[in-house]
Amino acid sequence: MYYIAFIIALLLLSGCTDKLVRVMPYEKEHFADPKMSLSPLEERAEHEGHIFLIRESSAGGDSSFQGGCGCR
C-alpha cells in the first residue's frame, strides 16, 4: 500500500518539473512574433521612454544615445 502511495506521489511530483510547466525556449515561436511585443513600434517606444526619463529628470536617459539632455 505504501509503495503505491509512494509511486503515485512520485508521479505527481514529477509533473511539477520545470520542463513540464515552463515554456521551453524552442516553444517560443509565437512569443517571438513582433505582434507579441508590448509596444508594437519599437523605435517609438524607445523615443517615448527617452522623453519620459528626461521629464522625470532621471540620470542616464535609459538606453538612448546621449541620455539626459534630450538630444539624439
Binding site: I7, L10, S14, K19, P25, Y26, E29
Partner: protein, 164 residues
C-alpha cells in the same frame, strides 16, 4: 521492487538531458527541401556540429553567417548539420536565403527540418540556438548554449581540429 525502480526511472526521465560524454541522439529527419532524409548514424566517422535553430530566434540570425564561413573552411572531416524547428518551412528557407545574400554564397551545409521539435526535446535544449559538437564515434564532446560569436568560433575550431 522491479516495478518501483521502473516507476522511479520513468519519473526521473523527464529530467534527463543530453550531457557531454553521452551518445548523440539518433534521428531520422528530412532535409529542409524534403529531397533526402538523414540519420545521425549517417555522419559517423566525421566531426559534426549539430545546431538547432529557428528563423524567429535572434541569436540564430547572429551566428548563422559564421557557420556558413566555418563550413566553407572545412572541406572534409567536419560537417555542420543544422536543424530548423520552424513551424513553417518557408520561413526557414527565407531565412537561409537572406543569409546566403549576406555572405555571398549558397548554404554549404545540410539543413534538416524538425517541425515536431523532437530534437530539442530529446536534447533538452535550454536555449535557442543550441549546438552540440559530436565526435567521430558519435559521442557529444561539447554542448554550446546560445549563439556563438566570431571569437568563440575560433575557439570551436581548435576543438574541431583536435577531434578531427
Amino acid at each position: 521492487m522491479k516495478k518501483i525502480i521502473l516507476m522511479i526511472a520513468l519519473s526521473l526521465s523527464v529530467y534527463a538531458d543530453v550531457l557531454v560524454g553521452d551518445k548523440a541522439v539518433d534521428f531520422n529527419l528530412n532535409s529542409l527541401d524534403e529531397s533526402k532524409s538523414f540519420k545521425q548514424s549517417d555522419f559517423k566517422g566525421q566531426v559534426v556540429l549539430l545546431n538547432l535553430w529557428a528563423s524567429w530566434c535572434s541569436g540564430c540570425k547572429k551566428e548563422m553567417p559564421e557557420f556558413f564561413k566555418l563550413q566553407k573552411e572545412y572541406k572534409s572531416g567536419f560537417k555542420i548539420v543544422t536543424v530548423s524547428i520552424d513551424s513553417d518551412p518557408s520561413a526557414s528557407q527565407k531565412f537561409l536565403q537572406s543569409v546566403e545574400q549576406e555572405v555571398g554564397f549558397k548554404t554549404p551545409f545540410i539543413t534538416l527540418y524538425d517541425s515536431e521539435k523532437l530534437l530539442p526535446k530529446t536534447y533538452g535544449a535550454v536555449a535557442m540556438p543550441s549546438s552540440y559538437l559530436i565526435d567521430k564515434q558519435g559521442i557529444i564532446q561539447a554542448v554550446i548554449v546560445g549563439s556563438l560569436s566570431a571569437d568563440e568560433i575560433e575557439e570551436l575550431k581548435k576543438e574541431i581540429n583536435k577531434l578531427k
